[in-house]
Every structure is written in structure tokens, then in C-alpha cells.
Symmetry: C2
Subunit: 509 residues, 2 copies
């Protein structure tokens, strides 16, 4: 062991090298794999990627997402250095401690690498390496089985094979660049790397942040039930979202799902719910998709929500992590510009089971005190261009706009407000980004105040392209931003249905 | 009449002032309103819009979309000039001929303006002015009725009130800036200005182009049946898309719908299909939404497609105007990167009624000649990262990529290919726009060749943000680009269902 290596102090984990966070940790047996004191990436690429970068996706992601270079050990016997980091010929020659090893080598070399990892004393191996059991070939199924037998005997944990591995923003672990770098309170598990990436990226763009993310592929060792167990124990994780293809150990999975879902809102997207999808899942992670009816019943009994599509998962996760979690009922007030938009929105909201009750006469009368008649409606949907050719906003007419929202939020007929109000007017305008952000921030601050005062959640319907820079701010203020009225309505309706399904369980929704 | 005015030569319309196109025209009585020799905008705004522009939305749109300034007459007695164009105190004082008048004045002044227009001898009035029959107030209903009586007696056509009016890209008429400036073959009618704008803008971004677009609001004079009649007669219009809230003259509407839909693919989105939506429609354009069952039966009998949502209209319009119009059946081959993505996509495609048959053994064997085993699948969905960490594209590996698509297109099991292949790899990359476009163009050219050779349509699934600059090129090559697999699948399934519904009618689908 070299002189400069950090002390191994498992008792005081926050002082560990590589583990740069001082966030609360759990004593769960899986916890150490999320806080490696050194990471080796084996099989780093000497070929440039399409953008001319060497080293391959994992090394690049770790560097870009802030894992400390001094505890990062690329392994490739043919290279001296990559991305300015010294390269080692094998795991055995890396400085101690190497707690986590990422394998990018072909399947043929995996068994030998695993032997070296065991000899080195690593805690965990993540195998991006695919081409094992999921191929369905008997000899490759057997190869995977032998590897798992070996690691289990040695007490080393194995993530994968055929997966993207770990995302722990608190310590700079990441399998993709451009994911959120700051940690949060959502735990994510996924059998698919592509879907893990979609969930992290899409929810990240809406301002959500993650405690940990695990893409675990074939799940040969670390499986869903253990990850759920960890999510329950982890003080950082307040929500759980996941993507599953098959359940490998139904009894334990269901047991853990019940435990975590009763305490923390848990949303699971199940792939392979049709026979075509199940066939694809089998090719992908070797999963037997199983009966969706049984899976559904398991989720319902546990109080978890089974999402029917990726959009449903994303939208419901957005709703449950914002003020919509407290929505009292299905009565929507829709405030936006454009009568035809209001008509189609009303149809779509009604089709998902929400209602748009006309505002009570006295509320309409109160609105008519300051809303002109022509080209507007104050019944609900409320179409308020106020006789102009552009919609309201909180920068150009703050008092009027605030008054409008307050009157509607205070109406006993309103459980939740959906609105397109917030940005500057611009069909093809050259409004600057700063100007846009100023408008959105002003709206978010007002909405946050109004929803705190009235208890009525306000959901902003905005093009995700325009609002990317303010969604984290919105999320901190508990304001949901979703791209369409239809998706907002579906998310709210799902939340209400979920709450209803949980009757008899502790009321966390 | 001034010396510089253009000659009135209704017999040779292409030489008319303002009518800058030399496109074929019809002798339909409505045709002249689409080719005004001079346009007055009455009530141009002296207030700056949020971006500091004077003149209001209509004048700005006309100038920006290329209507010749020399035949454009802003009217506002308090202004001398606006946007560098001379302002006139009233319609009567504008140079002759003024064929089309856009009214932006308050409802109280509309009757007097109409009198002036009649005196001036205009052909058509477009009333953006709202606050008439749609308010439900008896005296305003009566005011609208009186205006219509007057214009009818004078032989002047009236568009609206409460609408955005005309979009005729061939002559530079437009009610919004940033709509496509070049003309095309889709006719659009809409009772809603907001929805008209959404249809034109969204389909425009996908590369579709329009012959004419009409937002006709309350439909006090010019109504849907007459516009359908025009669309049938118009040689430029090969497709019809529309948004309706209420049918004002059911017998004639149905008659015309049958005539046009039998000859030209016709898609109608009906607003107000729920009771909440119907109530909103009544507030919006004073429409009585009527029974959706009857409307549906009318469409089915006519061979038109009733869209259930805006997305459905947009996606089906994209499909029917590209190679998907020729799709032979529901068998999809999906080619993309990411196993989990393939699983969810398979589920979504199966849920809309498409199938993903496994590729025949011999086709899989042919693929395995050049596709490595690890991390790929050649069954269908075809997950081909070829052992790399980024998907295929036609720039970095043109031969391999072409071979892959050709083998799959040639399989008798493939009716249509959906693919995410096409762009450069870039999770958070700084790939330049030129580089992106080069990749997409290369893909579009290859796909176009393959679909021509094999008769198998290829649909590109791409984020609309990334491909905006190539969609028109793609559309010219008959390649559909849609943002998600789910929407692509729904569009294809709708097209197949539509074709089935048209059994017994001429097979234009």
C-alpha cells in the first residue's frame, strides 16, 4: 500500500476518500457499495468516442460528474495514461483501497477479472460487460452462475451483468455525464440502463434530485428486493421509483416492496406487460416477465403504484414530490389563454376522470370586476387575455394576475389549479433567456405563496424546452411543471387513484 | 383611385397585386378571399407589445410573413405611420382596391366598420373582434345577426367574429409570425385560433406545408361546410385537417364532408366531446357541441377520421402525408439502442394493436453475420449497439448500418420500420448543429432509398428539438419524424384503422 493512500476508517465513513458527502448514511449492509474509497475502471477504451474523447463512457462520466481523479484508477495494459489519469495494467496493481470495480471488458475475460478483484479485496464489482445469461446460451448462463458463486463465497457484491451500475451524486459516482450533480431524496432502481438514464435525466430536468440510482441488469447478485430494503433503511431516500422487467425472487420482492411502499411513496414501471414486450424483456435481461395481473395485485396490496408507461412514471413522480401530493380532490380550475385550447384541455381532463366545475356565480362576479368581457371567459376554464393579444404574466401585470389566481384559489370549487400562465408572450419572439427566466421565477414565487396560503396546489403547464433553467427552483418551491395539460391531468388523476388504493394504509399521500 | 394602383383583373388572378403566387387556382366562389389585392388592418395598435413592437399581431404577422407592404393599409386615426407603413384614418380613405379588411377594434364599433367596408366595396371582412354571439348576451347575439344580414345583402364575406382569420402562405397572408412561409398541399380549417396556430406550427415543424388555413371562430357567415367545399375544389389542397367545436348546418356539413373526404384524406379534431369540454366550447365560440356519437358516425360514413386529441391529429397527419400512407400491415420492426427502451416500446406498440413479430430465423442468421452477440439483439426489437457504447449511424458506419436496414426491410415479416437511428451519439455532447444535421440528412437519404426500393416505410423517432432543421427535408423524402415510439405506433395504428373504416370507398389510403 502506498504512503499517500487514505486511511480505511469504515467507522467514520464521511471521512473516507472518494466519499465526499457528509450526508446521513445508513448501517445497511449495501451502504458501503455506494461509498467506494477508490474506483477502478477496467477495460477503459483506447479508441476515441464519436466526440474524440478517450477512455469510454464510464471513466468520462466519473470525471465529469466529479468523482475525485486521485481515487480513480483506469485499467488497460496497453495505455500509460488517459484523461490525464495514470493507467494501470491490472486491478492488482492499482493503489489500495479499490472498493469498486467497473468492468468494460468482453465477457470472455470476466471470470479472470473477478478472481483478481477477489484477490484485491474489493467490495463490489459492476459488470457493464454483457453477453452472459441474457443471451440464453447454456454455456454463458453457466459462466454467469460460476462467477456469482465465486463472488458470493468471497463476500464481494456483484452488480449486473449487463447494466450501467451506480449513480450516487453525493459522492460523484455516475454512469452518464450530464446527470444532476447534487444529491436529493429519490431512490431509483432499474433493470435497464437506458431506462435508468431516461428516468434520471427526465426527472432531473424537472428539478427532482436523487439519493442513489442503480441500474442492475440481469440482477445475478444484487437484486430488486435488496435495493428496496436499502431504500427503506436509507435516511436520504424519501421516494422510490423503479423499472423492472422480471421479479427474480417474488416472495422477498413482495415483502420488501410492502415495507418500503408503506413508508415511502413507491412507483414501479413494469416492462414486458404484453407478450411482445415480455419477449423483448427476455432477450434483454433474461427476465421472465411473469403475469402482469399478479404483479399488479402485489403492487396494489403493497400500496405501491404500478406505472403503465414511462410518461406515467415521470408525471406521477413529479406530482408526488410537489404540492400536488396534498391535492384534496378532482376539481380543477384551468387558467390559460386560448378558447380552443381550453376546450380540448377540458375534454382531456374529463377523459382522465377530473372535473372542471364552473366557478360559483359569486366568484365569477368577483372576477368580472376586473376581467373584461370580450374574448375572455371566467366560468372555468378561465381564458384571460384581458382584451390583449398576449396572455397574462406576473412581470407586466403582477397585481391583476395575482388577484386572478387568488380569487380562483380561494373558491371552494377549486382543488387544484392548472395554468399556462408564467412565461413571457412569444410566438417566435427573441425574448432573451434572462427575460424568460425572470418571468418564470416571478410566477413560481407567486404561485408558491398562493399555494401555501390557500392549500391549493398550482401546476404549471410549460414546454420543457423553455423552463429547463427554472425547474429546480420550481421543485424546491413544490411547484410541479409538466409539458401538457393532458399529462398534468393524468398525473393528478393517478395520484388521487393511488391515494384511494392505499385506503387502510398509513396516509402518506 | 390612385394612379399607382394595380389593375383589377379578376380574369387573370395571378397578376393581381398582393397575390404573389403563380400557383393553380380554383374558380370556387370563396377563392377570391384568399387572394386579396389589398389588405386593411383596422384598429392597429399604438401600444407596444411586450417586445416593443407597435401595430399589433396582425400587421406584424403580415409584414413578417411577406405580404407586400405597398398593399397593406393600417387604419388608426391617431397614427401617421406604423412599422414604416403609412396609416389611414379609416377604411374609406385607404387606396383602392381594399379586398380584405381585418378588424381589431372593440365590438361596439364593428357595425360602423362593416358599413364602411360595404361602401368601400371590399370582398371580405375578418373579425378578430370578439364579444358578440359567443358571450350568450341577447343584445350581442342580435348585434352579430344584424351585421351578418348586412354583409350578406352586400355580397361581402365575413370570417368570424372571434377568430384569427386567414393564413395563405402563397400570398403572404398570415395571422401569426413564424409560420411556414412556403405553400404546400394541406388545407386547414379551425374554429379556434389557438388550435389553428398549434396545428400550423406543429405540423410545420414536422415539414408539412399548407395551401390555406382558416380560423373562423363563431362561423357567423363563412362556415365549415363551405370551407370543405372549397378544399375539394382547390387544386393546391390534397389533404384536409380541421378543428371543429360545433356543426352549424349539419346536413350541408355532412354532404360536403362526404365529398371532400372521399377524394382527399380528411382528419377532423372535434372539441367538446365531454360535458366539461362542451361547456367550454359553448363559452368559446357559442357552439352547441352536439352528440359526439352522431359526429363520429358522420365521419365514419364519410371516410373522414375523427381525431380524439390534438396529438392524434398531428401524428396521423404526419403519417398520411408520408410513406406510411402505403404501409401494408401492422408488423413493425423496431431498430434502436437500449434493451429497456426496446421492452417498453414493444409494450406500447402492442397496446395500440401493432405487432413485433420475431424476425425469421434466416434473417436473424443473416444479421448475426455482422452483428456481435454481446449487448445486442437481432430478434426484433433489434438492439444494435454493436458492442460499442453508442448507437449506429450512417456517418460513422454507413455500410454496416445500411446493410442492417436493408436486411430487415427485405424480411417478409416487416411492414414498417421504426427507428431511433439517425443522429450522432450525444448524451450531453457538444456536437455542432452542422454535425447533427449531416448525420440526420445522411440517414434520411438512406432511409428514403431503402423505402423506395423495398416499399417498407421507415419512421424516424427523434426528439423534435434536435431535428427541426431537417424535418422539411425528411417530409420531402416522405419520411415521417415523430417524437416517441408510442406516438409513432398510435399514428400507424390509426392509419390502418382508418383504411379499414374506408372499406367500400375509393382506396386513397
Amino acid at each position: 500500500m502506498s504512503e499517500t493512500e487514505p486511511a480505511i476508517t469504515t467507522e467514520t465513513p464521511s471521512s473516507e476518500a472518494g466519499a465526499s458527502d457528509s450526508l446521513p448514511r445508513s448501517s445497511h449492509p449495501l451502504d458501503p457499495i455506494f461509498h467506494p474509497r477508490g474506483v477502478a475502471v477496467v477495460g477503459v477504451s483506447s479508441r476515441a468516442d464519436p466526440e474524440g474523447r478517450m477512455g469510454g463512457i464510464f471513466l468520462n462520466a466519473l470525471v465529469m460528474q466529479g468523482y475525485p481523479k486521485e481515487y480513480l484508477y483506469p485499467v488497460n495494459p496497453k495505455m500509460e495514461e488517459v484523461l490525464g489519469i495514470k493507467c494501470y495494467p491490472s486491478v492488482l496493481e492499482c493503489p489500495d483501497p479499490v472498493d469498486h470495480v467497473i468492468s468494460q471488458i468482453p465477457a470472455a475475460g470476466l471470470a479472470e477479472l473477478v478472481d483478481q478483484c477477489i484477490e484485491k479485496g474489493v467490495r463490489s464489482i459492476h459488470s457493464f460487460t454483457a453477453g452472459l445469461a441474457e443471451t440464453g446460451e447454456p454455456e454463458l448462463i453457466e459462466a454467469e452462475r460460476e462467477i456469482i458463486e465465486k463472488v458470493k463465497a468471497a463476500g464481494v457484491r456483484f452488480i449486473g451483468p449487463n447494466c450501467m451500475g451506480l449513480y450516487v451524486p453525493g459522492v460523484g459516482l455516475s454512469f452518464m455525464p450530464m446527470l444532476p450533480e447534487d444529491p436529493g431524496n429519490v431512490f431509483m432502481l432499474s433493470q435497464s440502463g437506458a431506462n435508468a438514464n431516461t428516468i434520471l435525466r427526465s426527472l432531473g430536468e424537472r428539478g427532482l434530485r436523487f439519493s442513489k440510482g442503480v441500474s442492475f441488469g440481469n440482477g445475478a447478485d444484487v437484486r430488486a428486493h435488496e435495493l428496496l430494503d436499502y431504500a427503506l433503511a436509507d435516511p436520504q431516500s424519501e421516494y422510490v421509483v423503479g423499472y423492472m422487467e422480471g421479479v427474480q425472487d417474488a416472495r422477498r420482492f413482495f415483502e420488501r416492496l410492502k415495507q418500503v411502499a408503506v413508508a415511502k411513496p413507491t412507483i414501479i414501471l413494469k416492462g414486458g406487460i404484453t407478450s411482445d414486450g415480455a419477449r423483448a424483456a427476455h432477450s434483454h435481461t433474461g427476465s421472465l416477465a411473469g403475469s402482469i395481473e399478479i404483479f399488479d395485485a402485489m403492487c396494489r396490496q403493497a400500496g405501491a403504484w404500478r406505472a403503465e408507461s414511462m410518461d406515467e412514471l415521470l408525471d406521477l413522480a413529479t406530482m408526488v414530490t410537489t404540492s400536488v401530493r396534498d391535492v384534496k380532490g378532482p376539481n380543477v380550475a384551468l387558467i390559460g389563454a386560448g378558447g380552443g385550447f381550453a376546450v380540448l384541455s377540458s375534454d382531456q381532463l374529463a377523459l382522465v376522470g377530473l372535473t372542471l366545475p364552473p366557478l360559483p356565480e359569486e366568484v365569477q362576479a368577483e372576477l368580472r370586476e376586473f376581467v373584461p368581457v370580450a374574448g375572455t371567459s371566467v366560468r372555468n376554464p378561465v381564458d384571460v387575455t384581458f382584451g390583449r393579444d398576449h396572455p397574462l404574466d406576473f412581470v407586466s401585470e403582477p397585481d391583476l394576475t395575482r388577484r386572478l389566481f387568488e380569487v380562483i384559489a380561494n373558491s371552494h370549487s377549486t382543488d387544484v389549479i392548472l395554468t399556462t400562465v408564467g412565461g413571457p408572450w412569444r410566438p417566435g419572439s427573441d425574448t432573451s433567456r434572462d427575460e424568460e427566466d425572470r418571468h418564470f421565477r416571478a410566477a413560481i414565487e407567486e404561485f408558491s405563496r398562493i399555494q401555501e396560503r390557500t392549500g391549493v396546489p398550482i401546476v404549471m403547464v410549460q414546454d420543457e424546452r423553455r423552463v429547463r433553467r427554472v425547474t429546480q427552483f420550481a421543485h424546491q418551491k413544490r411547484i410541479a411543471i409538466v409539458p401538457t395539460v393532458t399529462r398534468a391531468g393524468k398525473g393528478i388523476a393517478d395520484l388521487l387513484a393511488w391515494r384511494k388504493e392505499r385506503e387502510g394504509l398509513p396516509s402518506i399521500l
